[in-house]
């Protein structure tokens, strides 16, 4: 066994390193020249504090299931839940329901789990022999449940339940509470990070 020593041209390597350094320096100067004026340009910032007269940023969540409580919308419909203006909207391809934040009597969030296989596929799993369908029931995912209690124009009490992907209900609740919705249970503070 023999190991060959590679021949390294040190002077050529040094020249290439210097050229690269010069190129990076030139690019840095170019970016500084163009970037510095932009730093002082009065462009509207997204992280502007609330209550400065500008509309609050909207929260949009797709693939939300309305379990119950949509007047015009069928139970278990899927659609988009959004906070726009001063109201909560749930829209499907066919219809839209809107609830004004000031009419919300209580808003609460909860965690739950839902099975991965539902509907017609669930019925089909029952045909799997040797209890295979039961094994498939073990696969589930965590979800957030958003529950609203509100009153209509006549003062009538209504309720609605939405199922969202995990961790998506809290921002909507926070936004609605900021807009005047009542909540009997305040938003939980985020847990401190473990060091």
């Amino acid at each position: 066994m023999s190991v060959q020593n590679p021949i390294v041209n040190v002077s050529a390597a040094m020249n290439s390193f210097r050229a690269t350094r010069a190129r990076i320096f030139a690019r840095g100067l170019f970016l500084l020249a163009f970037g510095a004026p932009l730093m002082f340009f009065p462009a509207p910032a997204r992280s502007q504090a609330a209550g400065t007269g500008q509309a609050a940023p909207s929260v949009v969540q797709t693939d939300v299931k309305l379990v119950i409580g949509g007047e015009k919308i069928k139970n278990n419909s899927r659609g988009t839940l959004s906070v726009e203006g001063s109201s909560l909207q749930f829209a499907t391809a066919k219809a839209k329901v809107e609830v004004d934040a000031s009419s919300i009597l209580d808003i609460s969030t909860n965690e739950d789990s839902r099975e991965n296989i539902t509907g017609a596929a669930k019925v089909a799993t029952m045909a799997i022999p040797y209890g295979g369908g039961r094994v498939l029931s073990l696969f589930s995912h965590r979800v957030d449940v958003l529950t609203l209690e509100f009153k209509d124009a006549n003062g009538g009490y209504h309720g609605a339940i939405f199922v969202l992907p995990q961790g998506r209900a809290a921002p909507i609740k926070k936004q609605l509470v900021a807009m005047g919705a009542k909540a009997s249970v305040p938003l939980a503070e985020p847990a401190p990070a473990n060091k």
């Binding site: 119950i68 099975e115 029931s137 073990l138 009538g156």
Partner: protein, 176 residues
């Protein structure tokens, strides 16, 4: 021997349908008789107002409270016994002279597990027991009984609220 067997079979074939006929006629006669007594006891009201569930001391998640209320509204509307089903707080309900009120109070609640139900079958059932109280416009009690809603084998936990509402709707059908 063969003759005896044949005779026995023919007798069985005759007695079987005869018994079934007697049972059928008897049950029909019984139904019409009890139907008359039921219709004599039935009450009438043009409208009903449904109050939100009172959880009392029973800890119940808010989604169950809301699901019970919304399912009750839907199922009582489906009975077709009332011209109007008013929600709690509706201003128009105050003008109705023969309004009846439906109130529910939680007695017990057990949130099961859908996973357990579908894997083990004999465990994980969800159950809610509520006292159903229907009063007339004068405050006189028309219905006061405990009703249980449950989901034993298949379906999400919230399905117990649907089961409960269906049973309350049946009570309303029998009463009005």
């Amino acid at each position: 021997m063969k003759h005896h067997t044949r005779a026995a079979v023919s007798v069985i074939f005759l007695i079987g349908p005869a018994c079934a006929l007697v049972l059928l006629v008897g049950s029909l006669w019984g139904q019409t008789g009890s139907g008359d007594s039921k219709s004599a006891q039935k009450l009438s009201a043009s409208s009903i107002q449904i109050e939100p569930m009172d959880p009392g001391d029973v800890p119940m998640p808010p989604e169950f409270r809301v699901a019970i209320y919304e399912n009750l509204i839907t199922q009582i509307e489906k009975t077709g016994k009332f011209q109007h089903v008013y929600r709690s707080g509706d201003k128009e309900a105050a003008r109705v002279p023969d309004l009846v009120m439906l109130r529910t109070t939680a007695q017990s609640f057990r949130k099961g597990s859908q996973k357990e139900r579908e894997v083990v079958t004999v465990a994980g059932s969800s159950s809610i027991i509520l006292k159903v109280h229907i009063t007339d416009h004068a405050g006189q009690t028309l219905v006061d009984r405990n009703v249980e809603g449950k989901v034993r084998f298949f379906g999400e936990n919230l399905r117990a609220t649907y089961d409960f509402s269906k049973k309350v709707a049946n009570i309303v059908r029998d009463t009005f």
